[in-house]
């Protein structure tokens, strides 16, 4: 892992028009190819921060730098996965996965090749022609992640991608995400409400305060990779979750 920063937020504050102070002076740097998790109480501004980082929402103050260039609008180089899978219901699984490539004007042959490879990576080959309405939540989220990865963005922003899933599916999905991430080494910033999930996945966990959101703790997760669900019962893992839980509780 290099220490070079790829995406940075500099002193971001945001006030919504109705007077809600969502973010207060947030500064963060994402090192190239690192996996960072963001945790914090509900309503503290995590989604707002992600939308600002993705260029979807202009911040009230501060700026976002991608490769040291300020960004003012959404970039293909930043992929985003929302809390809802957000699949287009009129496109099949295959069509949803290939959408970013189509929009980028990629030739059909190359598009097919990449889409098939992605279907294979997320283990959904047999569902290529299925419409989203008949998929389970976990399958839909896997496609959303595949779609965000398929055009090979440098940064992946994930907003509670497993929030709507049951605990069991959620664990499987985290492991799957680890596997995918091992293959497509990207810089990832993922919002989550689950402390074990954050510890399992991340190199670093950022903790936000209640609204207005600030970053109040930055916890290193020094567990070696590759990691798997077996970690969950190891004493050093449990100790790390306890430490994180403590810093969230004392975060104000």
């Amino acid at each position: 892992m290099s220490d070079q920063t790829i995406l940075a937020a500099e002193q971001i504050s945001h006030l919504y028009p109705d007077g809600i102070h969502a973010l207060d002076n947030v500064t963060l740097r994402l090192a190239c190819e690192s996996f960072v998790c963001l945790v914090g109480p509900s309503g503290c501004g995590k989604s707002t921060l992600l939308r600002i980082l993705a260029g979807l929402l202009p911040p009230g103050a501060g700026h976002v730098l991608l490769d040291e260039q300020p960004i003012t609008q959404p970039q293909r180089r930043i992929g985003i996965v929302f809390q809802k899978a957000n699949l287009l219901p009129w496109r099949t699984v295959y069509g949803n996965l290939s959408l970013p490539l189509e929009l980028a004007g990629m030739p059909v042959a190359e598009r097919d090749e990449r889409t098939l490879a992605m279907l294979n990576l997320i283990n959904l080959e047999e569902f290529a022609d299925t419409y989203p309405a008949s998929l389970s939540g976990g399958m839909a989220q896997r496609i959303a992640i595949g779609r965000a990865l398929i055009h090979d963005p440098q940064v992946l922003l994930l907003d509670e991608p497993f929030g709507a899933l049951d605990a069991l599916t959620r664990e499987q999905m985290s492991e799957e995400l680890l596997r995918i991430w091992a293959r497509h080494r990207k810089t990832v910033l993922m919002v989550t409400h689950s402390i074990p999930e954050a510890v399992l996945l991340a190199d670093r966990v950022l903790v936000m305060s209640p609204r207005p959101g600030r970053i109040v703790a930055d916890v290193e997760i020094p567990l070696s990779r590759p990691r798997s669900l077996d970690l969950l019962h190891r004493p050093d893992f449990v100790a790390l979750t306890e430490r994180l839980r403590h810093s969230i509780r004392t975060a104000h």
Partner: protein
């Protein structure tokens, strides 16, 4: 793709925005139990009973035969019209008015609806006038339109276009406004240009309501053509009705009315078929 085959699908009532004059054929039938062969025989049986009653009334001698002609006489009149080619000619005239009017009205309504859905300025500037336009009784301004645009096809096309315009407009606005903002965010994050956003997001997302509007428009447009032909025309099924009325040729009136009904139902069926083939994905959601 979807194994549960539904009958020609109406959409759920809460999804259709202007169901007032659509044909709620399947809405009226609870869909929970499959149709058996006996159930399929019920409607034709009712039809035959109605025909028999009609025949009975015609033969009873209570009414003069030019007031209530028997079904047989109507059928003969219809055959005569069909045989000398005039039925086809008049149907073709009406069909052309209906289809051209629909095309003009639907396209105009779609683009205007799109503009209103996307731009607050357009919405504020135009809405009062569009509502006022909807409030104008078409029958009342039809003579005016004939004076302005002549007794030929142009005036009928305009009447048909006006009559389908409003439901189509409302449906388009609802369809475009109803697109979830997260899907717009998705398109933005993929750097889609405005045309791509229209083609890959807005058009398909609005398609169910737009086709719903198309189904409503199909029947409305036939009404528009008849209204125009009543006021002034030299051909068309509405003209036939009017002509038959003037000459006390009631079999002709009834034969023309039946043809008009069949025309409207066919157009509606076409729109429903379009829905069936274009909106496979949508049926999956509704199930």
């Amino acid at each position: 793709m979807n194994s549960r085959v539904q009958t020609v699908d109406e959409g759920r009532p809460d999804h259709q925005t202007v169901p007032a004059s659509s044909l709620p054929s399947t809405l009226l039938v609870a869909q929970s139990r499959p149709r058996t062969r006996w159930n399929l025989l019920l409607a034709p049986t009712v039809g035959i009973i109605l025909l028999l009653i009609w025949e009975g009334v015609a033969q009873s001698g209570w009414y003069a035969s030019f007031i209530v002609p028997s079904p047989v006489r109507v059928a003969n009149r219809w055959w005569a019209l069909a045989a000398d080619g005039s039925l086809l000619r008049h149907t073709a005239v009406t069909l052309r008015e209906v289809l051209t009017g629909m095309m003009v009205g639907v396209l105009a309504a779609f683009w205007l609806g799109y503009a209103i859905a996307k731009s607050r300025t357009a919405a504020y500037a135009l809405t009062p006038y569009l509502v006022a336009l909807q409030a104008v009784p078409i029958v009342a301004i039809a003579p005016l339109l004939i004076i302005w645009f002549g007794a030929g096809i142009a005036s009928k096309v305009i009447i048909c276009a006006l009559i389908v315009f409003f439901p189509m407009l409302v449906n388009t606005v609802i369809g475009i406004r109803g697109i979830p903002p997260e899907l717009r965010d998705l398109m933005r994050s993929l750097e889609a240009n405005p045309f791509q956003t229209f083609w890959h997001l807005e058009l398909p997302a609005a398609m169910p309501v737009v086709i719903g509007g198309l189904k409503v428009s199909a029947t409305l447009s036939v009404i528009g053509a008849v209204v125009g032909e009543f006021v002034s025309a030299s051909a068309g099924l509405g003209y036939l009705v009017n002509f038959g009325r003037g000459t006390y040729d009631t079999p002709l009136v009834i034969a023309a009315v039946f043809t008009l009904t069949a025309l409207a139902m066919t157009l509606y069926g076409l729109a429903a078929w379009l829905e069936h083939i274009l909106l496979d994905w949508h049926k999956a959601i509704q199930n």
